[in-house]
Structure formats: structure tokens, C-alpha cells
């Protein structure tokens, strides 16, 4: 199973109901970068135990190919939270998504419980990462502290439906009401060096709406976006396709950086302009992203 993280881009994160074996067994066929097996909203209260057991078995025993496997557990305010962690952590998903992270304490509590289970199971400490879901006004306002609350936090994710409800507003098609939250969560994640995922586009029939929202998310700096249907994956991937001109320049920057290193030069110059560290890092990131679209060298553009 692939670990999430900086080396493996997660443009799309496909929600999958945790009590539906027919859908879960087809995960590798959908083409998403990562999957989110859901024990929370997609599972009826009376089936929580069945879904938890099913997901634990799937994560432990099924080969999902290159897909990064994460599990959304029930919130700490429910009677299912501890049991979810007890059963899911030993199956070693790449990450668990903790919903309704209201404050750093919510993350610390989850981190302590996961750490204890890892120790009891003889698992490597910190191996199962946390994706902290922010879906309250309070959570958004504490985004950076939440991001820094534990070492194992790897991503922040925006929950747009619950957040707009908490704000007392409607989620609209153009998403103006989420503009501040998106900016804030992206900045917090970047400052903490984490990945950051945008909320779902809920209208499956509105492909145009999905396209513009995914493009906005990519422009704002999100590293990926959640999908609620396999049909949304292609549009999400398209939104993160690197711009050809920028990618061409990235190839030249990386080439210059490698040449400078060989020649022991500290200063890199590309197209007559000085290039410094963060730009080289971004060039490498763009090139890695390009690989996902079959662009492995400048000639592929």
C-alpha cells in the first residue's frame, strides 16, 4: 500500500461508503490517487459496527494497488470514535481522517489514542497519519494550531457542508462564502508544511460547477480535492494539470540546478534570471506532478 505524503501527490480523494463491499472492492479501477473509506456520514447508526469490521478487513487484506488508503472515523463526540480507532489503526491505513477538529486538543486526543494502539500492536510509531478535517468556524480560526498539534498530522481538509451550516449560510454554486475559509486553511497548511484538501462538490450532475470549483482550489494552493463519485475524478485531475509553459521552465530550472550542483556553483540562472531555493523546490514538485499526466521530459509537452 502506498503511503500518502510529500512524495506521492493526492489530487483526488474518493469517498467510499464503508459498508459497501461491492464498491470498495473496485477501488483500484476508479483511477483516484487516494480513497477515503467512510465510517461516518455514509454509514447508518445501526451499521457502524459492521462497517468498522468490514473496512478493517479490507484495509488489512486487499491490495489497493497504487491508491493511498485513508479511513474517515466517527468524531470524538460520538460513542464510536475509540472503537473505530481500536479496530482501524491495527490494519495500518496510510491515514485516518478525524472529522470536526474544533481545536488542537481534538487532534492531540486522537494522536494519543493512535500512539497507544501503535505501541500495543508493535507498529512503527507515527506510521498512521492524521488528516484533520476542519468544518466549524472555530476549527478554521485555529487551523494553524491544529496543523501543528501533532507530528502525525499530514493534511488539513475542508468540510464545506458542515462549515456553511455552522456559519449559518448556504453553500452556493460560486462558493463565495467559503473563500475566507479556503484561504485560511491553505495558508495554515502551507505554513506547517502539510497537504491540504478541498471539500466535495455535491452536485454530481453539474460537471461545469465541479470544473470551476476544482480549478479554483488548485489556484488557491490546495493539493487535492475530495470526490463523492468516481465520475468526478477526471475533472479533478485535469484541474491540477500543470501549465505547459510553467512546466517547460521547470525542466530548465531542474537541469540548471543539477548542473550547478555538479559544477559546485551556488547561484543558478535560468533564462537570464536568478533562481533561488523555493523556486527549485517548486520546479521539482511540478515535474513530479507532470509525471502523473505522462509528461516525463520537455519533449512530451
Amino acid at each position: 500500500m502506498k503511503a500518502a505524503g510529500k512524495g506521492h501527490p493526492c489530487r483526488s480523494m474518493l469517498y467510499m461508503p464503508g459498508n459497501n463491499p461491492g464498491m470498495m472492492q473496485h477501488v483500484p479501477a476508479f483511477g483516484a490517487d487516494s480513497v477515503l473509506l467512510d465510517l461516518e456520514d455514509a454509514v447508518a447508526e445501526r451499521e457502524k459496527d459492521a462497517a468498522r469490521r468490514l473496512v478493517a478487513h479490507f484495509v488489512r487484506e486487499i491490495d489497493f494497488g497504487g491508491v493511498v488508503v485513508t479511513v474517515r472515523v466517527n468524531g470524538a463526540d460520538t460513542p464510536h470514535f475509540e472503537r473505530d480507532l481500536e479496530e482501524i489503526i491495527p490494519s495500518a491505513p496510510a491515514a485516518v481522517r478525524i472529522p470536526k477538529c474544533h481545536s488542537p486538543e481534538d487532534v492531540k486526543r486522537a494522536d494519543a489514542a493512535i500512539g497507544r494502539i501503535e505501541r500495543e500492536q508493535g507498529m512503527p510509531p507515527g506510521g498512521v497519519r492524521i488528516h484533520a478535517m476542519l468544518e466549524t468556524a472555530h476549527g478554521i480560526e485555529h487551523a494553524f494550531e491544529i496543523a501543528r498539534a501533532a507530528e502525525r498530522v499530514e493534511a488539513l481538509t475542508l468540510g464545506g457542508q458542515d462549515l456553511t451550516a455552522d456559519m449559518g449560510v448556504q453553500k452556493t454554486r460560486d462558493g463565495a462564502e467559503l473563500f475566507y475559509a479556503r484561504g485560511r486553511i491553505v495558508m495554515a497548511a502551507k505554513a506547517a508544511g502539510l497537504m491540504v484538501f478541498d471539500t466535495v462538490w455535491t452536485d454530481i450532475d453539474d460537471a461545469e460547477g465541479l470544473k470551476s470549483e476544482a480549478e479554483l482550489a488548485a489556484r488557491l494552493g490546495f493539493t487535492g480535492k475530495a470526490a463523492i463519485h468516481p465520475a468526478q475524478i477526471d475533472a479533478i485531475h485535469e484541474a491540477w494539470r500543470p501549465d505547459a509553459r510553467e512546466l517547460r521552465r521547470a525542466f530548465r530550472i531542474v537541469e540548471a540546478a543539477e548542473r550547478a550542483e555538479r559544477e559546485g556553483k551556488g547561484v543558478i540562472s535560468v533564462d537570464g534570471r536568478m533562481v533561488d531555493g523555493p523556486i527549485v523546490v517548486r520546479a521539482f514538485t511540478l515535474i513530479r506532478l507532470g509525471h502523473l499526466y505522462g509528461i516525463n521530459e520537455e519533449a512530451d509537452l
Binding site: 459497501n20 463491499p21 461491492g22 459496527d49 468490514l54 478493517a56 478487513h57 486487499i62
Partner: protein, 96 residues
């Protein structure tokens, strides 16, 4: 020890419905499109899981093409529900 009859799973494609109830010995009723192919495999899995919960159990399985992981998860859930004393805590434990 089993206290009551309980079920887990669904009759949807790629799933299975498992009903477990207390019995003197381990009894399996298995049905599904591929019942002749998978009967022995399913018997082995049921016996292995029953050993952990209650060797005396009647297990009925309607298989709709479930993978082995799904089968195991559903049988375990049915056994766990049947092992619970408190009905109120687990409304899903009682078959409709």
C-alpha cells in the same frame, strides 16, 4: 457464548447476509450462485470464526458473490451482535 439470534450484511451484489443463532453444535446452511464451489471454503471459515466466539451456533449464509474478506467481516459481525447481552445497545442485532 451466544445470547440471541443476530444478522449482518446485505443481499446486495458482492455482499452476503449472515444469520447466527445459538445451537448445540456448529450448523451451516450456505446458499448462493456458487454454493458448490465455495461450500467447503465457507465451512472452514465459519468453523474457524465460531471457535473464537461460540462453537455451538447455527449459521445461515446467503452469498451474493462476496469476497472472502467480506464473508469473514460479516460472519464476525453477526457473531459479535449475537454475543451481546444488551439488546438496546445494539438494535441491528435483531433480525427484522
Amino acid at each position: 457464548m451466544l445470547f440471541k439470534k443476530a444478522q449482518a450484511g446485505t443481499l446486495e451484489s458482492s455482499d452476503c447476509m449472515v444469520v447466527v443463532s445459538p445451537a448445540e453444535t456448529c450448523i451451516l446452511e450456505y446458499s448462493g450462485q456458487n454454493e458448490t464451489i465455495f461450500k467447503r471454503r465457507t465451512e472452514r471459515i465459519v468453523r474457524e470464526i465460531a471457535e473464537r466466539y461460540a462453537p455451538g451456533a447455527s449459521v445461515q449464509i446467503q452469498d451474493r458473490g462476496a469476497l472472502e474478506v467480506t464473508l469473514r467481516a460479516r460472519i464476525e459481525t453477526a457473531f459479535e451482535r449475537a454475543s451481546k447481552e444488551d439488546l438496546k445497545e445494539d438494535p441491528a442485532g435483531e433480525p427484522k
